[in-house]
């Protein structure tokens, strides 16, 4: 994704400072931040200052060195101007601006590429939470978890939003064997190594906790205060349909991506046999002389089912071929440790 500007005073000086750190080693931890906070923004002009102040306050209380990476996903309001001002005044602020809006997963990815810390916090400006309480997530990370999800509580959204959110959580809990209250909160604290082992694109960043759990990482949650006001009151049907499609994508990716024929073949066989049974019935009917079958719509239905079934099996087979030819490049497991060399 093309990145238009990147303002980062430290990145340019990094090599020199690294040497400096190695030589002196006198606790100048600020050169290489331990924590990178990535905040995608998109037309959040009214919130930017508050987010920045809350983040700074919270992280200073936590005590480890940090950097704030704002990724502006081509805002059309004054978000970028405000961020630019912050980046000029505060050396711990990095600013990345996308040339055009690429979506949150891309913004996260861009931020990830420019992050220097080993601990990563992802907190989108879209969700209004009290950023000052982010260190609570980091503390939970220190307790030995690999990924901590912010659980917005108490929820401030509209009833419909909450219902959809609840259904989404329920579905995802079934999928990922995850007992979380608020999987799609988009506020996450984790380690760089975890994100490097997960592929996310498009809108799939919402599923990072699920994907991480599927890889065997220890995922937990921590309550985080949701700020009142300014939540979306309208329901975007298209958005929910898209979300549903994303869920199907994730189910397929996590469960069947390595054995498409198991999945498609199962339904394909059911359809094929249903179609065959119908036409067999008609065939016997005709042979035994019960009457003509040309006018029977069942004939069409049977043929249609047969065709659909065979097409499903075919697509499954093509999937198998794709995986077989690329199996070498995909690793199916995640190694925690290797003992003995």
């Amino acid at each position: 994704m093309p990145i238009e500007t990147q303002i980062s005073p430290r990145a340019a000086e990094l090599p020199a400072r690294l040497d400096d750190d190695e030589i002196s080693g006198n606790g100048r931890a600020a050169t290489m931040p331990k924590i990178s906070v990535i905040v995608p923004t998109h037309n959040n002009g009214s919130d930017v200052q508050a987010i920045y102040r809350a983040l700074r306050l919270g992280l200073e209380n936590y005590g480890e060195s940090f950097e704030l990476i704002f990724v502006d996903d081509a805002s059309t309001d004054n978000t970028y101007a405000q961020l630019l001002d912050l980046a000029r005044r505060d050396r711990q602020v990095k600013l990345i601006r996308m040339r055009t809006s690429f979506g949150e997963a891309s913004a996260l990815d861009a931020g990830l590429r420019h992050a220097l810390g080993q601990k990563l916090v992802f907190a989108t400006a879209r969700v209004r939470v009290n950023m000052q309480s982010l260190p609570q997530l980091l503390r939970k990370l220190d307790d030995g978890f690999d990924l901590v999800v912010g659980w917005r509580t108490p929820r401030q959204d509209s009833g419909v939003n909450r219902l959809v959110s609840w259904m989404f959580n329920w579905l995802m809990q079934k999928q990922g064997n995850l007992q979380l209250h608020d999987i799609n909160s988009s506020v996450i604290a984790t380690y760089r190594s975890v994100l490097e082992n997960i592929t996310f694109y498009g809108n799939l960043n919402v599923f990072i906790p699920v994907l991480a759990a599927r890889q065997g990482y220890k995922v937990s949650e921590e309550q985080i205060e949701q700020l009142p006001g300014a939540f979306r009151k309208s329901v975007h049907v298209a958005e929910y349909i898209q979300r549903l499609l994303d869920i199907i994508t994730v189910i397929f990716l996590t469960k069947y991506s390595k054995k498409p024929l198991h999945f498609l073949g199962f339904f394909g066989i059911i359809f094929t046999f249903a179609g065959l049974a119908m036409n067999l019935y008609l065939f016997v009917y005709r042979i035994l002389g019960f009457g003509a079958i040309a006018g029977r719509p069942l004939l069409l239905l049977g043929a249609l089912l047969l065709v659909i079934g065979l097409q499903m099996i075919s697509i499954g087979l093509i999937g198998e071929m794709i995986i077989y030819t690329h199996a070498r490049e995909i690793k199916e497991y995640n190694i925690e440790t290797v003992v003995g060399e």
Binding site: K258, S314, I315, L317, T325, N334, I335, V338
Partner: protein, 304 residues
């Protein structure tokens, strides 16, 4: 996984055999996300024995993944695989390796006298083996035996995913490997619970179908899809001709004609779709590494 009681015995048994045999060796144990004390135990043993390497998975990823990881990490010229439950006898390791060195690329153990409950394990296993022999043209009596020896180039060539660990000999066969067999011991489980069940047999049959289609048509997907195209187009054209003939004779009611014409068009459309699938499949296969290329590589390696 969760083979706590077995771990010590396994390590001892293998070490005894290998020390007595006098060849250089390493033991790679893959801990597939066990939740008991298996891993700390292994870690402790690895501290004392430099021959042992232990891989720990973050969670349970299944036997294919475990075997894949083992293959990736193993450094030996010959790689021997076996289960962690001690049902295979480590005493047989020199046996399978010796057979391999007679000039095979894969040597599988054959549990001629299985020590399992007859009905739920032996019968499905016999059926599955017969099916595997029929469909993959690899004539082994006991594909399911975990005790197998592989040459280095087979280990380098095959990629394991899904649940294909059951069909490694068949996969190796595609790569042009020579496959042998030798009778091995089979013992009753001393510790822990057997994790075999009947549903596994059904999954095996499912996988077998996949593999059969895959191996038959991987290099020539158009044969599969082209065949379907021919069948469906022939049926469609026949249906249309039939209805045209009867229309000419005026012996068909309008609704009958409607149904028959629709059927003909549907069948022809389906046939064209299959042809398009075949073209896509061809592209997919072409963008991957061609089988011939792999075979050439294999031959080149063998001549080294």
């Amino acid at each position: 996984m969760n083979e706590e009681e077995n771990v010590h015995h396994l390590h001892h048994a293998i070490t005894d055999v290998m020390q007595a045999w006098g060849r250089s060796y390493e033991i790679v144990i893959v801990d597939d996300g066990s939740t008991d004390h298996t891993f700390p135990l292994l870690e402790e043993i690895a501290k004392r024995d430099t021959h042992l390497r232990v891989v720990k998975f973050r969670r349970n990823f299944g036997q294919s993944a475990a075997m894949g990881a083992g293959f990736e990490l193993a450094r030996g010229e010959v790689v021997v695989t076996m289960d962690g439950d001690l049902q295979n006898d480590p005493q047989d390791i020199p046996l399978v390796v010796a057979e391999l060195e007679k000039g095979y690329d894969v040597v599988s153990g054959w549990r001629k006298n299985r020590k399992d409950k007859l009905i739920i394990r032996k019968v499905p296993s016999t059926i599955a083996n017969r099916l595997i022999r029929k469909t993959t043209q690899v004539s082994l009596h006991d594909t399911g035996c975990s005790l197998k020896a592989y040459s280095r180039d087979v280990v380098n060539k095959i990629s394991l995913y899904g649940e294909l660990h059951r069909f490694i000999p068949a996969l190796a066969r595609v790569e042009g490997a020579r496959i042998g067999e030798v009778v091995v011991n089979h013992r009753e489980r001393k510790f822990g619970q057997s994790k075999y069940n009947l549903t596994r047999t059904f999954r095996v049959i499912m996988d077998l179908t996949t593999l059969n289609l895959l191996l038959k048509y991987l290099t020539k997907p158009l044969h599969f899809f082209g065949g379907l195209t021919l069948v469906f187009n022939a049926l469609g054209i026949a249906t249309l001709l039939y209805s045209a003939f009867h229309t000419a004779e005026n012996s068909l009611a309008t609704e009958e004609l409607n149904v028959l014409m629709s059927l003909g068009f549907l069948l022809i459309a389906a046939g064209i779709n299959f042809l398009l699938f075949g073209l896509i499949a061809n592209m997919v296969v072409k963008t991957g590494k061609k089988r011939d290329e792999r075979l050439h590589e294999m031959a080149a390696l063998n001549h080294l």
